[in-house]
């Protein structure tokens, strides 16, 4: 017991230097080195992880990290050298196997080593910027094993050989291939690329170059494409099984270049099996395949499109200039529609509705339809035929389909104003003869034209319909007020046409038969009574009449004739024979019309209610006409009237052309004035361009005509040339 003062504890440093056993590092390293040996010799089970870890830890702690690290490098390197040798020693097919096995083992070993050396990995290595253990292990593998000369070249050769074998149909070990390529990828993307991929692509290019040459000599286009497609799919599958995904686009590129791009032109032009043949024979599957394959190479689709386009243009051009075809306008237009349908189908089913192909098709049609100046007339005749009889009994939807197709052709026309002229003529005939199949169909087409071209285009056409309706109302009113007067007399039905709306007719005044003059006057008075300030003139070249005729043996027939024909026939109530001159004198029908009229009455089998002397085919001024007593027909009602709209004769066509040209002049002038009013000053080329733009929805103006109109406007002092710059024109307000 002590009550003495407690002495403070003093801690002093060791007085002597504490030194780690110099042999400590060496000893510890040896332990670890031994462990690595054991690991590589598959004796890891006997090792204590904890102990080894501690040893490594201590080494690093006591500043022997450097020794540890370099020791690791040396040891691992020497082991890998051994491994290299053993791999190299493997024969033939076993090479790859051995390589793969050793690789797997190395990875396992590396993992264990890394775990043991984890402390170093996390402290010493980052501090000294050395390569981490795992990475180090991969690098060493790469440098010592893979890039060992003997192994490197052999590896490459075997891999490529396997691919070649597989391409020629042999079965190879894909799993093994996968492991090897995965190994290469793990070693770094440049390893995979430089050691394998680069050569793979080169060799593949050679392979396909050769193969494509063989195929193209021995196969037709369709077969070749099938093969090419097959190879392409094969490569894609190969990549998915044992190559890096990034190789896919590269190898497919190779196949496409060698098999498709190099032989593009030859394939397309191949005789009897190339693109044109496929189109003509409608081989949709082959075409679709071609489209898909060619899409992948630059200018592949351009090639297809160009060849197709020039073929369409040639076909169209042929159709447009074949005189046989042009004899029947309705048939001709039908052919055009069929042609369009065919190509539409090809583009939808084989070419994936590719817009550039659609555009090429459209421009081709536009090109050749306008090669023939008669196209507008023919399209109108086609419509006329449809609206007269073609669409009889057809459902509303189908009617719309046909009309839409017509509109499609209409859009291609450059001379829309010519179409308008003919359409008007034909429509007038249809309306007046009551021959239209469906009023709804007529109106539907007008609406479509209006949507396409604007109100102005159709306003006159609509005027025609209005006149028809109004005339109906007028007739009702007339009959209501005069019905009782008529009694036994002829029945009159009048259509009153507003001059501006209907196609212009040359003015003819023929003499109407006395029998109907009465009722005609009554109508005239009635109408003018309710519409003051108007002038009516009978259009004798446009009407029809139903005549009751009794022939020699008492046979009665009802003859449906034109007004002219009525004028002629009525004469025979008072005379049995009349000369041409007499008829001409009394009726005052214009010569060409009269001749046509007499021809239809005397020279057509089954309709010859008149006889002609002499019996020649043509009408001469010296002919005589007799009432044909002996006329028979099995029908009670006989139609002798004028036929439906015909394609114009050459001279008629010229005349219409001329009228169209005349109509265009004021339109061009109006456009010029409009433009100059807005711009005030403009140079010649720009005026031409603007005018063309403004009028293009109706027709394509001729630059020479535009110049002439400008000069005319200068003369009339609407414009003047600029005093300074001769190229400019000025608007004179």
């Amino acid at each position: 017991m002590s009550a003495q003062k407690k002495k403070a504890f003093q801690i002093e440093a060791f007085k002597h230097r504490v030194v780690v056993d110099p042999k400590y590092a060496e000893k510890t390293w040896k332990i670890l080195e031994h462990a690595i040996h054991e690991i590589y010799n598959h004796n890891a089970s006997g090792l204590s992880f904890e102990e080894l870890y501690r040893n490594a830890y201590n080494m690093v702690l006591h500043k022997f990290g450097e020794k540890l690290y370099s020791g690791l490098v040396t040891t691992m390197t020497s082991h890998l050298k051994e491994i290299s040798n053993s791999i190299e020693a493997a024969q033939g097919g076993l090479f790859l196997d051995e390589l793969n096995r050793k690789w797997a083992e190395h990875n396992k070993a590396l993992q264990m080593i890394r775990d043991i050396l984890m402390y170093m990995d996390r402290t010493f290595i980052p501090n000294t910027h050395k390569t981490p253990v795992h990475e180090l292990g991969l690098n060493l593998w790469r440098d010592v094993v893979i890039h060992f000369h003997a192994i490197q070249s052999r590896l490459q050769a075997i891999l490529l050989e396997n691919v070649r074998r597989e391409r020629s149909g042999e079965v190879i070990d894909r799993g093994l291939m996968r492991s090897i390529t995965k190994m290469l990828m793990d070693l770094g993307p440049s390893v995979y690329q430089d050691d394998f991929e680069k050569h793979f692509l080169e060799v593949s290019a050679d392979f396909y170059r050769l193969e494509s040459q063989e195929f193209i000599e021995s196969c037709d286009c369709g077969e070749y494409l099938k093969k090419a497609e097959g190879r392409l799919n094969e490569e894609i599958e190969r990549v998915s099984h044992y190559l890096d995904t990034r190789s896919e686009v590269k190898i497919t590129n190779v196949v496409e270049t060698e098999m498709i791009e190099s032989h593009m032109h030859r394939l397309v032009q191949m005789e009897n099996s190339g693109l044109i043949n496929m189109i003509v024979d409608e081989k949709f599957e082959d075409l679709g395949r071609m489209y898909c394959l060619f899409r992948q190479v630059s200018n592949g689709l351009v090639l297809i499109r160009d060849v197709m386009t020039s073929f369409i243009r040639d076909t169209g051009k042929q159709l447009l200039t074949d005189p046989e075809r042009l004899k029947d306008p309705v048939d001709f237009v039908q052919h055009l529609l069929d042609l369009k349908d065919k190509y539409d189908k090809i583009i939808t089913s084989a070419f994936r509705n590719d817009k550039t192909f659609q555009n090429a098709l459209n421009s081709s049609f536009e090109y050749f339809i306008n090669l023939n100046s008669r196209s507008p007339e023919f399209i109108s005749l086609f419509v006329d035929d449809k609206l007269r009889k073609g669409l009889r009994g057809v459902t509303e939807e189908d009617v719309e389909l046909v009309l839409d197709k017509v509109m499609m052709l209409f859009r291609y026309l450059q001379e829309k104003d010519v179409f308008e002229k003919y359409y008007k003529q034909h429509l007038a005939k249809r309306l007046l003869s009551g021959k239209s199949v469906s009023d709804d169909a007529e109106r539907s087409l007008i609406v479509k034209l209006k949507t396409e071209c604007g109100y102005q285009f159709t306003s006159k056409l609509e005027g025609m319909f209005t006149d028809m309706k109004t005339s109906q109302d007028t007739m009702q009113g007339f009959h209501a007020s005069h019905g009782s007067d008529i009694g036994d007399g002829p029945m009159l039905s009048v259509q009153v046409l507003t001059t501006g709306s209907w196609p212009t007719q040359p003015i003819t005044t023929s003499n109407l038969p006395a029998e109907i003059l009465g009722i005609c006057e009554k109508f005239r008075n009635y109408y003018l009574g309710t519409h003051t300030g108007r002038r009516l003139s009978w259009q004798t070249n446009m009407g029809t009449a139903d005549l009751k005729a009794t022939f020699g043996k008492g046979q009665k027939h009802e003859l449906n004739v034109s007004t002219y024909q009525m004028c002629v026939l009525m004469l025979f109530n008072d005379a049995d024979r009349l000369s041409y001159k007499e008829i001409e004198q009394v009726t005052e029908i214009p010569t060409s019309d009269l001749k046509r009229c007499l021809q239809s009455l005397a020279c057509v089998k089954g309709k010859n209610v008149l006889r002609k002397e002499p019996m020649s085919k043509d009408i001469a001024d010296t002919d005589t006409f007799l009432f044909n007593d002996k006329y028979t027909s099995k029908f009670f009602k006989v139609k002798i009237g004028t036929v439906a709209a015909q394609r114009e004769s050459e001279p008629e066509n010229q005349e219409t052309r001329q009228r169209v040209e005349e109509d265009r002049k004021p339109q061009i002038e109006a456009a010029i004035v409009r433009i100059m009013k807005a711009r005030r000053v403009l140079d010649h080329n720009n005026i031409v361009a603007e005018v063309t733009k403004q009028l293009q929805s109706r027709f394509l103006p001729n630059p020479v005509v535009i110049k002439k109109r400008i000069e005319s406007l200068i003369e009339r002092e609407f414009l003047e040339r600029d005093k300074g710059d001769r190229k400019l024109y000025r608007y004179l307000a």
Binding site: D683, H684, N685, V688, P703, V704, K707, K708, I710, E711, I714, E715, R721, R726, K727, L728, Y729
Partner: protein, 198 residues
């Protein structure tokens, strides 16, 4: 085309031989012979231009007096000299176009007349441009006589004839561009020329 009849009442001194009560053509012919100049000579036309004569074939009293005063002429000999000076004056670029346009207007004899017949145009071209642009004018006149698109020429076409001679290289016509604002008659002329030479 040069003035034929003259209605002037008073004459410059020493030209009394020219006066005549009804102003007949002998007067002008006499004037011309006094001047030593043929009355179809272009210088008479130039005189008309200088005098700003409104109507072809007439000098009004006003025009005559004012014009001669402007020329500083009060005798026949001075008039003679003035004529040769006049030629130089007209040829000045600033006056030439004015004279050229005047020549056309001078031929419009009727009220509201806007064009001149081809025959007269050919003569006028020869007179006015013949000296300076002999080959072009000869060729153009040949064309005007054979073509039948146009029976008369208007002032717009007339003025462009001069521009054509001045600007277009002849006879190759290389720099002529039909898509430019040349009158159609010249487009046709150039086409005719090119066909002739091909």
């Amino acid at each position: 085309m040069p003035p034929r009849a003259s209605k002037r009442k008073s004459a410059p001194p020493n030209s009394s031989s020219v006066t005549s009560s009804d102003g007949r053509s002998e007067g002008i012919e006499a004037l011309c012979s006094d001047l030593g100049v043929d009355y179809t000579d272009v210088r008479i036309l130039m005189l008309a231009w200088k005098l700003k004569a409104e109507k072809q074939g007439y000098f009004t009293q006003d025009e005559w007096q004012t014009g001669l005063k402007a020329l500083g002429v009060d005798s026949l000999s001075k008039l003679k000299k003035a004529l040769s000076d006049l030629e130089k004056e007209v040829e000045k670029p600033s006056n030439y176009e004015d004279f050229y346009t005047y020549a056309f207007r001078y031929c419009l004899t009727e009220e509201k007349q806007k064009s001149v017949d081809i025959e007269s145009i050919c003569e006028l071209l020869n007179l006015v441009l013949g000296v300076q642009f002999r080959p072009q004018i000869d060729s153009l006149i040949e064309y005007l006589k054979v073509q039948n698109d146009y029976k008369v020429i208007n002032s717009d076409q007339w003025i462009n004839f001069l521009r054509f001679c001045k600007e277009i290289s002849f006879p190759d016509l290389e720099n002529y561009d039909a898509t430019q604002a040349w009158p159609l008659i010249l487009d046709n002329y150039v086409e005719w020329m090119r066909e002739k030479h091909s």
